[in-house]
């Protein structure tokens, strides 16, 4: 998605320049107020445990708006724009870790390989093992007796997958989270920007060049135009108003901090700093027609408004961070890049089909074939108002999921046979990334409870059409309706021994998620008992809680706070103490320590023990017993590990368990 030519850059820069000039020099006769402000900021983050610099981002943001005098039909008319450009020097200052020199050669300890190869080569379990490998490199040499690495499956042409897929610029999936002690499947993923190493890059989804990573707003999506919209209002004689906001904008629904239950109109850029940046800064503004009918006080309602939105800009998913970026939430980008590499180049899988083995898959057998970005458009409707002092909203949104779904069922090769097939193998790890269409219905309310001296916020949504990994299904995913909810309590509280003049804000939230069509079992789809749980990776019910403790000193110029979060099922969380110092009206310094706590990685069925390619992948005990089941495909028998699916259980805290960071941000506002 990089900028291809100088002329292109010129065009991109001319657009906001023209806009700014229009705003600044529009005839005074037609305009009233013009506002121009912005900030320059440097955010420098350093990660512990030897990683070093993860962010050295310098930002320039300009915010402009101009209001025109009431004219003709319109009682109000204005144009607003927000322009942002950033340069993240981490890709230059720490390019050994993130950037053009990142990654390394990887190797797997696979002492079981010789014996396994013997069995594989002869089909006879009594075959004596080859001598142990002395140099178990990722890309091995075949055939024996010069076996030095992973064992190519019979479908690997020439027995070697090394061509165009060198063992360099790689990391092992999950090596930032765990030490592979659970013995689960491990893949390698390329880490360098896509113009330097295009392995594993997903076209139009996760294919950022080095310049895209350094200058994330300057891309073909014109993200440096964060917002640019016009506002117009038509006032009616009865006091009602019809308002339009048209252009690239953020539409904010809901009443919740950190979590997004109703606030799903805009996708989010998690690559900026996982979930920890303000949503205002990480929502990806979209081209939207936003209409509001503001009825004001009506009937029994103290305030009543109707909103309709149509998102006309091309679909954009959440930015999860691609493989090799400092912030790749859930490590999903790393996983996808590993899988895409597998599909395009073939790959070595460690601890596959069992612990201490490493085998090579051919091209087009397992992995991610492509990301299919839809072109559907989103529509939403909201009623919002106040009734008897209670603020409420009812929301409906028909939209495309901003989170990816791994859909199996694509035509693929059988890695155990020399011919190159192209057919669907049930339970095989061959996917496309898709973004399903969803329908979300929900509502929210806020009110005050005097006996608690607290403001209460409630949000709930019911979404249909969401897809989740499910190892019981032939295509390894299934749909489930999802109920999400949040309850938040805000209570200002005086704690005299800490500050007798200013109350502390205690803000507590609990977020719940319930999967209506949950599937999880200790028998597989064919009724065979499994060694561990199989089915949907996500939890049927999960809860995450957050607590904010915020104080203010020196007339709010010094704001210390502790933000904490805990994912109950994942058993992981974060504690983020920070102090914010408003040095003057213009200067502001923030120092934070982002600390993760808890269990970290979680394991789950990784589909190793499925039989997608009968009889080759039949479980050894069944094969040894001559079970007729070996002749047909069956779902996983529950062999589990951290990778690759455990990340969805560990959640954003568990998968970032080793991402403790010291963070310093200096901002100058003008």
């Amino acid at each position: 998605m990089n900028i291809k030519s100088t002329s292109h850059v010129t065009v991109l820069l001319l657009i906001p320049a023209c806009f700014v000039a229009t705003l600044l020099f529009a005839p005074r006769a037609y305009t009233q107020d013009i506002e121009f402000r912005g900030f320059a900021e440097n955010a420098t983050y350093v990660r512990s445990k030897g990683v070093g610099l993860t962010k050295s981002r310098t930002t320039l943001q300009l915010e402009l708006s101009k209001v025109w005098k009431p004219t003709g039909l319109f009682s109000e008319f204005s144009v607003s724009g927000t322009f942002r450009g950033t340069y993240d020097a981490v890709y230059d200052l720490n390019d050994d870790e993130f950037g053009k020199n990142s990654g390394r050669s990887v190797s797997f300890a696979a002492p079981g390989n010789p014996a396994f190869f013997g069995i594989l080569a002869t089909g006879n379990p009594a075959t004596p093992p080859f001598p142990p490998s002395t140099n178990p490199e990722w890309a091995g040499i075949f055939p024996p007796p010069t076996l030095t690495g992973a064992i190519p499956l019979p479908g690997v042409p020439g027995g070697n997958i090394g061509a165009n897929n060198p063992n360099e610029g790689l990391r092992l999936l999950g090596d930032d989270v765990h030490n592979f002690e659970q013995g689960g499947v491990v893949l390698a993923y390329p880490t360098r920007p896509c113009d330097i190493d295009n392995r594993g890059c997903l076209k139009d989804y996760m294919d950022d060049d080095e310049s895209d990573l350094r200058f994330p707003e300057f891309n073909d999506d014109l993200d440096f135009i964060r917002e640019l919209y016009l506002d117009a209002t038509i006032a009616f004689d009865n006091g009602d108003e019809l308002g339009f906001r048209i252009g690239r904008q953020q539409v904010v629904w809901g009443r919740t901090d950190l979590f997004r239950v109703l606030d799903v109109v805009n996708p989010v850029d998690f690559s900026r700093q996982n979930i920890y940046d303000e949503l205002e800064d990480i929502r990806i503004p979209m081209g939207i027609v936003n209409m509001e009918y503001r009825a004001g006080a009506s009937g029994p309602f103290e305030d009543l408004n109707f909103q309709a939105i149509w998102k006309f800009e091309d679909f954009r998913p959440n930015n999860l961070g691609q493989g090799g970026e400092p912030y790749a939430i859930l490590g999903a980008g790393n996983f996808f890049r590993a899988m895409k590499t597998c599909w395009d180049y073939g790959c070595t899988a460690w601890n596959f089909p069992a612990t201490d083995l490493a085998v090579e898959f051919p091209v087009g057998a397992i992995g991610i074939r492509q990301a299919n970005l839809p072109s559907d458009q989103d529509f939403g409707f909201r009623i919002e108002g106040v009734y008897k002092g209670v603020g409420f909203s009812l929301n409906a949104l028909r939209y495309t999921s901003q989170m990816p779904s791994l859909r199996g069922g694509i035509p693929a090769d059988n890695p155990f046979t020399p011919p190159i097939e192209s057919q669907f193998y049930p339970y095989s790890l061959a996917f496309d990334i898709d973004f399903p269409r969803l329908t979300m219905l929900g509502g929210s309310a806020d009110f005050y409870i005097e006996s608690m001296k607290s403001a209460i916020r409630v949000e709930v949504s019911y979404t249909t059409g969401e897809e989740f990994p499910n190892t019981l299904e032939e295509r390894l995913f299934s749909e489930s309706d999802v109920i999400r909810w949040v309850v938040g309590i805000d209570r200002p509280t005086f704690i005299p021994f800490l500050n007798k003049r200013r109350a502390f804000l205690l803000s507590w939230q609990v977020f719940g998620q319930h999967l209506q069509d949950y599937a999880r079992a200790r028998v597989n789809a064919q009724g065979i008992p499994t060694v561990a749980d199989v089915g949907m990776v996500d939890w049927k019910d999960n809860f995450t809680t957050t607590f904010l403790f915020q104080g203010n000193y020196l007339n709010d110029r010094l704001t210390p706070q502790i933000l904490s979060a805990w994912d109950f099922r994942a058993g992981s969380g974060a504690i983020v103490p920070s102090i914010d110092w408003k040095i003057s009206n213009s200067w502001r310094l923030t120092l934070a320590f982002n600390m993760k706590i808890g269990e970290g990685a979680k394991g789950f069925d990784d589909d190793r023990a499925a039989n997608p390619y009968p009889p080759f992948t039949c479980a050894p005990p069944l094969a040894a017993a001559g079970s007729p089941l070996c002749g047909t495909a069956f779902s996983s028998l529950g062999a589990s590990g951290y990778e690759p699916l455990g990340r969805f259980r560990a959640g954003p805290f568990g998968m970032a368990i080793n991402e403790d960071e010291y963070q310093l941000t200096l901002r100058y506002r003008f």
């Binding site: 927000t82 205002e280 029994p300 305030d303 005097e450 403001a455 200002p492 110029r557 213009s586």
Partner: protein, 438 residues
């Protein structure tokens, strides 16, 4: 049948015993209440108009300075320049409404008002032997004509200052709007907006223009006709782009880091029934009432379209208004919060008798120590902006909150305009916060 009659009688007697009967008033009461300076001038021993009061002679004038101001003068923090007492007549419409409706008003057992429509609820002179005197005074203040029916304050600068050094720490630049949904006397519709399903009495709306980290922060407060109903307040947080409901605790917390709490706005900004009120006597006090256009003004705001300039600052830490003070008749009103966890021990409000606006407030903490001083400088509406001429409102013009214990102050510089131009109900809606925010 007999039982039913008895029941009605009992209910009637009980009902009567739960209210204080409406009091009649005379034209003499009206004149005394609204025009006290027609045939009378306040005086104090040793005081003459034009005297300058400073550290050297403060003791001599202790009786005509409120408790905090005396302390400041005595400490050499400020010098008081005095000017003649002048008439600050309220709108004839407000006086007429008082004549029309005050005779029907009474205080209910729970401290709320019965039969109040508009105007001054109790134009009679307060009596020390009247146990309801404090309650009546606070209602006169609550339904006073402080901002007329509708007012805009823009620009409105709040400047945080270190009292000891005078260093300006931060300046918040606001735009504020006030609207009475009920008890209206000058602007249509009178006496109330009909379409008011929430029963709102008064709406207060403010938006921060600067500094930029707070820009677009907005506050909306609804106070209800039913004084036993808790105020609702919402804050639009610019960087979150969300409307947050405020908990009541935030009403008694420092607002955006200033020395004011939301409950302090206009002197006392809360439910009458949240406090118990006591009449503390009548005093002639020197208070900052003046003609704005006759003052030596600041050189800000620059480039004001009306050429308007704020009242300047002077004195210790630049925390005091550079204005003249008048000797005026005041009522002392003492309020004590009923909530034992309230951070304030008591408010001593000095109400200007003629306008029933708060001239000064001295706040004490729960230990009984003096905590804050909050005078509001009042400008005569005929000697201010042309738009205010003839409006009959004692305009909010300058205020300061000095936190005596923290040696910190917040000065408030106003450009007040009594107008209904933009102050329509829709401005005071939650949706307007979202619309105005980004």
């Amino acid at each position: 049948m007999k039982h039913s009659l008895l029941k009605i009688l009992i209910i009637g007697v009980v009902g009567l015993s739960q209210t204080v009967a409406a009091e009649s008033f005379t034209e003499e009461d009206i004149n005394g209440s609204f025009y006290p300076y027609n045939d009378w001038t306040p005086a104090a021993e040793g005081y003459s108009v034009g005297v300058v009061i400073d550290q050297s002679n403060a003791d001599q004038y202790e009786a005509i300075l409120d408790e905090a101001l005396f302390r400041f003068v005595k400490d050499g923090w400020v010098t008081i320049r005095t000017a003649p007492t002048t008439d600050f007549p309220l709108s004839d419409d407000y006086v007429a409404a008082t004549r029309q409706y005050a005779g029907d008003v009474s205080v209910a057992e729970n401290g709320t008002l019965n039969n109040f429509v508009a105007g001054r609820a109790f134009p009679q002179e307060p009596r020390a032997d009247d146990p309801q005197a404090g309650q009546k005074l606070v209602w006169n203040y609550q339904y006073g004509f402080n901002s007329g029916d509708s007012e805009t304050i823009y620009p409105f600068w709040w400047t945080f200052r270190n009292v000891k050094t005078g260093k300006v720490e931060r300046t918040l630049k606001f735009e504020w709007h006030f609207l009475n949904f009920n008890h209206r006397v000058t602007f249509d519709p009178k006496p109330a907006y009909e379409n008011n399903p929430g029963g709102i009495y008064r709406g207060i709306y403010g938006i921060v223009k600067e500094p930029f980290d707070l820009a677009n922060t907005q506050i909306l407060i609804h106070r209800y006709q039913n004084d036993t109903k808790r105020d609702n307040a919402w804050l639009y947080v610019g960087f979150q782009r969300r409307v947050r409901r405020l908990a009541a605790g935030q009403i008694t917390d420092a607002f955006l880091g200033s020395d004011l709490m939301i409950e302090d706005f206009e002197g006392y900004n809360g439910r009458v029934t949240d406090y118990s009120w006591e009449y503390g006597g009548t005093r002639n006090l020197l208070i900052p009432f003046y003609f704005h256009n006759d003052m030596e003004l600041a050189n800000v705001p620059e480039n004001d379209p009306d050429g308007y300039r704020f009242i300047d600052v002077e004195g210790q830490g630049n925390c005091f208004p550079k204005v003249t003070y008048q000797l005026r008749k005041t009522y002392t009103l003492i309020g004590r919060p009923k909530d034992p966890n309230h951070p304030i021990g008591k408010r001593v409000i000095n109400l200007d008798a003629q306008t029933m606006t708060m001239a000064s407030l001295v706040t004490y903490d729960r230990k009984g120590d003096m905590w804050k001083w909050f005078p509001i400088g009042k400008a005569h509406s005929d000697h201010h902006l042309p738009i205010n001429k003839g409006k009959g409102v004692a305009l909010d013009d300058f205020a300061v909150v000095i936190d005596i214990q923290a040696n910190h102050c917040t000065t408030l510089q106003f450009k007040s305009q009594v107008t209904d131009d933009v102050n329509q109900p829709k401005l005071f809606s939650v949706q307007n916060l979202r619309k105005t925010g980004r």
